[in-house]
């Protein structure tokens, strides 16, 4: 029996499966750095399904427009209302892009408006220390997408807890590689993903 199972959200519109390597990579990192009992493989759960409530942390990404059905919207609202946390990452790294704009709208309708998360938030010290806020990605530094280095993540808060965490930094590309390739990196760039998981499991 595992304490944590990585869950990827499958939604009706768009390309929800655009980052198939991210789950395995983050599972590897959580197992590598922590003593959290993590399931060796992730699960894929439809957004409108009651199964979603078995996984209080879920990951959603894509390139294409996001349009939730009424059931998906209702389920997401209930999920976050009960204490679930959704991590959304724009795989385009483009704030003028269709994913960013449509996802913002749908999240606002289902849960609430996204607001800037301070870089002093507990998320950035939940396991590893990120004194400068969210770490930059190679896509940001290479000028891809919107050619911006986003200094902040966005969040919908429920009290003092993050309900939806939104990234325009394209962590889906940053973490989309086989875990064995970590040995070629001087710095493991998935450490922030560990922070997200640890934060979700403790707050």
């Amino acid at each position: 029996m595992s304490d944590f199972t990585f869950c990827t959200v499958q939604y009706d519109s768009g390309d929800w499966d655009s980052a198939p390597l991210v789950p395995a990579n983050l599972i590897d990192s959580v197992a590598r750095y922590t003593s959290i009992s993590v399931a060796p493989t992730g699960v894929i759960v439809p957004l409108g399904s009651a199964e979603l409530f078995k996984y209080p942390l879920a990951y959603l990404t894509g390139h294409l427009p996001v349009r939730f059905s009424e059931l998906e919207r209702r389920t997401l609202g209930e999920y976050c209302g009960r204490g679930g946390m959704l991590f959304v990452d724009d795989h385009n790294h483009d704030i003028d892009g269709v994913f960013h704009k449509s996802a913002h709208e749908e999240i606002a309708r289902a849960v609430g408006p996204l607001k800037e998360l301070p870089n002093t938030h507990a998320l950035y010290s939940s396991f590893f220390k990120f004194d400068d806020g969210p770490p930059a990605t190679t896509h940001e530094l290479n000028g891809w997408g919107d050619n911006l280095v986003h200094k902040h993540l966005l969040a919908v808060m429920r009290g003092d807890r993050i309900s939806v965490l939104y990234s325009s930094k394209d962590y889906s590309s940053e973490w989309g590689y086989h875990p064995d390739n970590k040995r070629f990196l001087s710095v493991d760039n998935t450490k922030f993903g560990v922070n997200i998981v640890v934060y979700a499991l403790t707050r």
Partner: protein, 435 residues
């Protein structure tokens, strides 16, 4: 002639006697009772009659309790008794409640739940229906069957004085001030159970600190890392066998009066094995999958309690399995609940699951929380057992003879005597043939 004069004399005597009796009746009607008479009053009009009673220096006073007697008027009767008047009382003859107990032995006491914003629980005993109210409105009613034995009613924060009425008895219940509760410390592995236990308690108003194990040498700490003692914490909640730095202090903490909640298999941790109510058996899945609104715990996985200690109290079972037990250790209390993954109730339960999960966690913690007792309130307005106080002050109820006289009441024999005299006088004249 001699007989006629004798008859005439008797007629004049009877006429004089009847006039004398009429005069006596009129005198009784318009004068107060003198020494030797029992003055009878009703409790509903006692406030109006007391001044005249006190000034008349009555020899004996009897009070019929047809309505609740406020403490101030009862104390006034005690003062009258001390001044030399013999004071007695009786319960009303009329049946005032469905159960026929017109003046039941009502006793009520309130205590405040040891949780933030918790309800006020009133323990009550009576032989008739009891209606509760505060300064604004009626709150609740407890129906008596044969008699109420230790019924408990929970009410929210009362506005103004809290009272209970049963028949002709009214109690004024003292509500203790809310206790100042220290934080709860949650310890265990980082996981969904830790996340949702902390969330549930915080959302119910508890201050929560946490020490959650993530990796060797790496804990996630919420709050301070101060000493573990009862001046800082009210309760320690152990979610599993991972106690970390708390292990060395938990037994001393409990013996000094702190509370300890052991969830799932936490009772098997070496540091707490000696004080746990039982050991935790092998984990079992629930037989049902859905969280039933009435019995949500039936859908939770369980570490059944086994080998219950002799001084532990079993509190809850699921079939043949013991699920919850508690025991005292020194000045503190230990509660063991074998349920695992209670967070699934919150996430997968029904529409009320979030609130119910919060309430369940809050009750568990409150049941063992160390809380200083609020100062005793000796306010004279508070009176939880008014009948007992009345008996203590004036003695038990007595039965007064139905023909006892009193103010404004004529002896029962007077009117027949008057009529008899007048009738005899008239009959004698008719017999004699006089007009």
């Amino acid at each position: 002639m001699e007989r006629a004069s004798r008859d005439a004399f008797m007629e004049r005597a009877l006429r004089a006697l009847s006039f004398a009796l009429i005069a006596f009746a009129l005198w009784r009607l318009f004068t107060a009772a003198g020494d030797g008479d029992v003055v009878r009053v009703r409790s509903s009009s006692l406030a109006r009659d007391l001044p005249s009673i006190e000034s008349a220096r009555t020899a004996a006073l009897h009070v019929e309790m047809d309505a609740a007697l406020p403490p101030a008027e009862r104390d006034a009767l005690v003062a009258v008794a001390h001044a030399g008047t013999r004071v007695t009382w009786s319960a009303p003859r009329a049946t005032l409640s469905r159960q026929g107990a017109a003046m039941p032995p009502l006793a009520a006491v309130a205590e405040r739940a040891r949780e933030p914003g918790g309800p006020v629980r009133i323990a009550v005993t009576s032989a008739a229906d009891v209606a509760f109210s505060d300064g604004l409105a009626a709150l609740d009613t407890v129906r008596a069957t044969a008699a109420i034995r230790g019924a408990t009613v929970s009410v929210g924060e009362p506005s103004g004085a809290l009272g209970a009425v049963s028949g002709a008895v009214r109690a004024f219940i003292r509500v203790p001030a809310a206790a100042a509760l220290h934080p709860v410390l949650v310890v265990g592995r980082a996981g969904w159970e830790a996340k949702f236990a902390v969330a549930a308690l915080e959302e119910r108003g508890w201050t929560v600190e946490a020490r959650l194990f993530v990796a060797p040498g790496a804990d996630v700490t919420q709050g301070s890392r101060g000493a573990i003692d009862t001046s800082r914490y009210a309760v320690i909640v152990a979610l599993d066998t991972t106690l970390g730095s708390v292990a060395a202090s938990v037994v001393r903490f409990v013996r000094q009066g702190g509370g300890l909640v052991l969830l799932a298999g936490a009772a098997n941790a070496p540091a707490v094995r000696a004080i746990a109510p039982a050991r935790a058996g092998a984990r079992r899945l629930a037989d049902v999958r859905a969280f039933d609104v009435a019995e949500p715990v039936n859908a939770m996985a369980l570490y059944p309690l086994e080998g219950l200690r002799g001084d532990a109290v079993p509190l809850s079972t699921r079939g043949a399995l013991l699920t919850v037990a508690a025991r005292r250790e020194g000045a503190g209390r230990v509660l063991q609940a074998g349920f695992d993954e209670t967070w699934r109730w919150r996430m997968q339960g029904g529409a009320d699951a979030v609130a119910a999960h919060r309430a369940w966690w809050s009750r568990m913690v409150a049941s063992v929380a160390a809380a200083p007792l609020p100062p005793a309130d000796e306010s004279p307005a508070a009176e939880g057992a008014p009948l007992a106080r009345l008996v203590d002050a004036l003695g038990p109820a007595v039965a007064i003879a139905p023909d006892a006289s009193g103010p404004h009441r004529l002896p029962g024999w007077l009117l027949p005597a008057i009529l008899l005299c007048l009738l005899a006088e008239w009959a004698s004249r008719r017999w004699r043939g006089a007009r």
